[in-house]
């Protein structure tokens, strides 16, 4: 059941992104950025948290989930450290993902070369 939900919800979030690509002049970079900011806003509004418990990876794997992690991190950090937490929380919560992207990108660049398509 959880797998079906992840498939349907995650798929629907991606399909919405495709509609934005095809029907608007938004570039992929703008859409990704918009999704992350919306993820933060929805979490702040108290909507995304319950959605994550419902849809599981269907809500955390799309880039909206990145916004969710940023906002969750800030919530916890502000609770702990006050205003300083507003600076710390986002990166603390997303550090694994960002560091993974950097480390694997550097490793891949040292191993692979781009190919003609």
């Amino acid at each position: 059941m959880q797998y079906l939900l992840a498939f349907l919800i995650g798929g629907a979030i991606c399909a919405a992104g495709q509609l934005l690509i095809d029907k608007t002049n938004l570039t992929p970079a703008r859409i990704l950025t918009g999704y992350v900011v919306i993820g933060v806003v929805l979490t702040g509004a108290g909507l995304y948290g319950p959605f994550v418990s419902f849809a599981g990876a269907g809500a955390t794997v799309p880039i909206l989930g990145f916004g969710y992690s940023l906002a969750r991190g800030v919530e916890q950090a502000v609770e702990r450290s006050g205003l300083l937490g507003a600076f710390m929380g986002g990166f603390t919560a997303t550090s694994a993902g960002i560091a993974a992207a950097i480390i694997f990108a550097v490793a891949a660049a040292l191993i692979f070369r781009p190919t003609r398509k």
Binding site: A6, A86, A100
Partner: protein, 149 residues
């Protein structure tokens, strides 16, 4: 007689073929959904690890998906799949990783520092910039509420 700019824009709209939205959206739906199923399987796996909190399990899923995306990008597989899947491979965190890794591969030829190092976030940068800016604003609002309360 030279055609005016406004008239020409109308003409261009009439002559430009539109994307095949229905097909693209369906492909984005099921490919994106499949990536989320993979994410769910990984999440269940990490959730069953006693030493990880749920938030840490979510982060571990991200790390594994980023790794898989990096391997696919390096092997030249991500692009042909993405051409078909569109937003299905763009919106999941694998798309973020592909943007970083592809830039790394591409600009490696301009040097490790001046190429790779500088250009790594040439596409994915805005996600981090505006994501953390938004989370900061949210944090300040939380702090004000907390202080007033």
């Amino acid at each position: 007689m030279q055609i005016g700019s406004a008239d020409y824009q109308t003409l261009v709209k009439r002559f430009s073929k539109n994307s095949r939205t229905a097909k693209n959206t369906l492909n984005a739906f099921w490919t994106g959904g499949l990536i989320c199923i993979l994410g769910q399987a990984l999440l269940d796996l990490f959730d069953s690890q006693k030493h990880l909190t749920h938030d840490e399990a979510v982060a571990a899923v991200t790390v594994v998906l980023v790794l898989l995306s990096a391997l696919a990008t390096g092997a030249g597989l991500y692009k042909p799949v993405a051409k078909f899947a569109g937003a299905g491979t763009l919106i999941p965190v694998t798309g973020f990783a592909n943007a970083v890794v592809s830039a790394g591969l591409e600009f490696r030829s301009e040097g490790l520092v001046t190429g790779l190092g500088i250009k790594l976030f040439t596409i994915a940068g805005p996600v981090i910039v505006y994501g953390s800016a938004a989370s900061f604003i949210y944090g300040v609002i939380l702090w004000i509420i907390k202080t007033l309360a």
